[in-house]
Amino acid sequence: MSMRKYNTHDIRYFFTEGLSSMFTHGFMSFAAIGITVACLLIMGTFSLIAVNADATLKKLEQENQVLAFVDESLTEAQARTLESKLLKVDNVASVEFISREEAKDAFASEYEDDPLFQNLDPAIFRNRFVVNLEDLSLMRETKTALEQVPGIADVNAYVELSDGFITLRNIAAVISMTLIAVLFLVSVFIIANTIKLTFFDRREEIAIMKMVGATDSFIRWPFVCEGFLMGILAALIAFFLQWGLYGLITKGVSGNDVFSIIQIVPFSHMWAPVALIFVCAGIVIGVGGSVSAIRQYLKV
């Protein structure tokens, strides 16, 4: 089915015929496009959730380093010697020593407006290491390993929080994969059935085309175009709906303190890949539907 042998007037003909069939079966086309839009939206929404969970994980990775507190009985000099031991722990990317003094100063400058927290005794702070991890998903194991290092009294890590986002990302991925597979098949099936109606409508025209010597591929192309146009239309509708939906959800999330930890990726950073994926998926569904209809029902 190469289009190369066709002139522009032929190709224009294929598309106008495809478009007119689409409108002839307004209701079926509407249903087929609607299902495809739903498929794309669900795919898009779960992918965007995964993207945001991932971005939040990255942020946690950068901002919420693990703090390893040194045993009070060790002097600062002794504490500094732990650095090499900590670096040997699996999954540790880097460590930075922070003395009592430095911890106090950092604390005081953070609460600079509050005289109560100035001139604190450094003795109430502990010597500590800021530990950066290579893979945040191994936080729990790394925390345990760090606690085993002699001289480390205590390790402070946001294990639950990062676990939560990893779970969210994985669930989003699994749900979207499953739903995409199911809805993809449903969309293809509905588009195929819409195009089957067109065959039925056009059986006389098809017979006449064969009588006057139209090639099989010439007869098939308008149906492929019909599926293609439905897929593209569904992709465009889904894109704008996704845009609006994303705006609504992110507005809700960012206005809520509970969700302040979530790193929201603005839609403007993602519109191009989203549009590209939607258009490609729409074309695959639409053309897939027409090709399956042609194979099953069009006896030319």
Binding site: Y6, N7, D10, K210, M211, V212, A214, T215, F218, I219
Partner: protein
Amino acid sequence: MIRLKNVYKEYRNGTHALNGLSLEIQDGEFVFLVGPSGSGKSTVIKVLTGEVIPTEGQVMVNGFSLVNIAEWQIPYLRRTLGIVFQDFRLIDKKTVYDNMVFAMRAVGASPREIKKRIGYVLKLVGLENKASRLPDELSGGEQQRVAIARALLNNPSTIIADEPTGNLDPARSLEIMTLLKRINELGTTVLVVTHERDLVNRFSERVVMLEKGRVIGDGVGKYGVNVHA
């Protein structure tokens, strides 16, 4: 040129529609194909258009061998033929003009060719004033003239018509036959299947008579005179 040699056709249900039929039609001839119902006339037409593949024998139509023709070649064979049926086969929701456009587009003609050719064929069949009518707004005879005009669009070397006057009254039938004869005089080979003895006998043309899938008579003006159905 059309040549059938010892052609047999057995349909899937076991009916022997053609039984060793041989027939040759030269370029530029006008031929009536007659015979009783069930004698195989339509089967011959279907063999010539590639709709039915013969079980045995040789068939050549305008340079295509129909026994071992490749599927993809059939459209190109059909472009050398103008096919006309009893039931006109026009698209009801398209005007006469758009029916013509549809048939030419189907073979990839350009808009310019389409415009030029449609005017010519409509004039040839005398319907240039009715181009914007829908088929329903025409008489049966006029509808058949549209179908003949459409058959001529791609400038075929041969017109093949299966009972083109079957749905028409005698006066309209004579008009259609006269039109086909005029097209023949312009150089197109014409093969017409018909039942109508009186009509055939108003022309002095070659008549091929079939019975039980074989040619039982072939000559000029014989139908109803020497050979009885």
